[in-house]
């Protein structure tokens, strides 16, 4: 993904964080949240609302790529 200005991030900063676990799907994250990788570096965020992988099978972790649907992941 490209780096540089991150307008979605700037706008997202104005909103308190919310975290929504979607049934059988990812975790939606909105608002003022910085996602850090294992080394503590911020993961570039391209959009105001992001979906974090919960099934473990995404090819673009930490983000969701819809693979949970192909592997029949259930969150219940």
């Amino acid at each position: 993904m490209t780096s540089g200005p991150d307008p979605a991030r700037r706008r997202a900063d104005r909103r308190p964080p919310t975290i929504v676990p979607c049934p059988d799907g990812p975790i939606l994250v909105r608002g003022d949240v910085t996602i850090l990788d294992d080394d503590g570096r911020p993961v570039p965020r391209q959009r105001a609302t992001v979906a974090l992988c919960r099934c473990g099978a995404s090819t673009i972790k930490p983000f969701c790529d819809g693979t949970h649907k192909a592997i029949g992941f259930t969150s219940a």
Binding site: A8, R11, D24, Q46, A48, T49, V50, C64, D65
Partner: protein, 306 residues
């Protein structure tokens, strides 16, 4: 009158080039219009009458052909579940798998040309629904559309990313450049979005259509990107697809639950329309897919000769 005669003679409106192109042109007056065509045609009563005849005939055909689940209660979670079930990835042949594994450069060009009819104005048909919704479903649609329009960054608007992909492979990214080569079945896919989007009566259907569209996007877009990478294209070309792998995994959740699901709960009598919109999206997507794969399997172009 001529329109009625043409409609009466067309065995299948979805694959009739004249019918779909005429409808496309009438809808296009509501978007970018045409150079040299008076803007007043948009609301010309006689033309609207013609459009209505075509829409009524098309509606009749689609209602007869599109199977809609009829046992779904008007409940947010139940409607979201039904939409995810309808759109569940299947094992059969698909355009995405063909693009990933087999498509030639020429077939990739064709693929982009088909897609360009919608993707160069991506998100616009669903935007018509915003003022017709209220509360949660409205906010959900705005949240999705804001992301489609680049979150305020014109360079990241999805239509612009698609234009970059087209230019990156040497195609003309001007809207409508290839319109003469687009077969009816592809036009039908975008015409249905305009039909649902422009009529308040179909606000449920446009919401369901968007949900189905988003739910069938992330996984195929990864395969589309793979196909272009396989043919040696770089990130300037694949960014559109890479962006959709990530974006539509977000959008499908919002569209399924907060838009379509919440709309059914808020206006229970729209539940059937929501599912009809989703099923129609899938029905037409399947027809386009069959058209592309049968042409490519036969080694011929999937485009019309212009």
């Amino acid at each position: 009158m001529l329109t009625q005669r043409v409609l009466g003679q067309a065995a299948d409106l979805v694959t009739d080039d004249d019918v779909q192109l005429a409808l496309y042109v009438m809808y296009e007056l509501f978007y970018g219009g045409f150079d040299g065509v008076d803007d007043d045609w948009e609301w010309d009563p006689e033309l609207l009458g013609v459009r209505s005849l075509v829409e009524t005939a098309l509606e009749k055909q689609l209602l007869a052909r599109v199977a809609v689940p009829d046992d779904v209660p008007p409940d947010r979670a139940a409607v979201a579940d039904a939409l995810f079930a309808l759109t569940a990835p299947g094992p059969g042949p698909s355009v995405a798998r063909f693009v990933a594994k087999k498509a030639s450069r020429e077939q990739l060009h064709e693929f982009l040309i088909h897609r360009s009819v919608y993707q160069l104005k991506e998100a616009d048909p669903h935007t018509w629904a915003i003022p017709r919704l209220t509360g949660q479903p409205k906010a959900a649609l705005v949240e999705i559309q804001a992301d489609e329009y680049g979150g305020g960054d014109p360079g990241r608007m999805h239509c612009e990313l698609f234009a970059r992909t087209m230019r990156g492979v040497g195609l003309d990214a001007e809207y409508g450049a290839y319109i003469e080569q687009i077969p009816a079945v592809t036009l039908a896919g975008v015409n249905v979005m305009s039909w649902f989007g422009l009529h308040r009566r179909w606000r449920g259907a446009i919401a369901g259509h968007l949900a189905a569209f988003e739910m069938t996007s992330s996984l195929p877009n990864r395969l589309y990107g793979d196909g272009f990478r396989r043919q040696g294209f770089g990130q300037d070309v694949t960014l559109y697809f890479d962006e959709h792998v990530e974006a539509d995994a977000v959008h499908e959740q919002i569209a399924g639950r907060d838009l379509a699901g919440a709309l059914a709960q808020q206006q229970p009598d729209l539940t059937h329309d929501i599912l009809f919109g989703a099923a129609t999206c899938l029905y037409l997507d399947d027809l386009v897919g069959r058209h592309l794969l049968s042409a490519w399997d036969a080694g011929v172009s999937s485009l019309r000769e212009s």
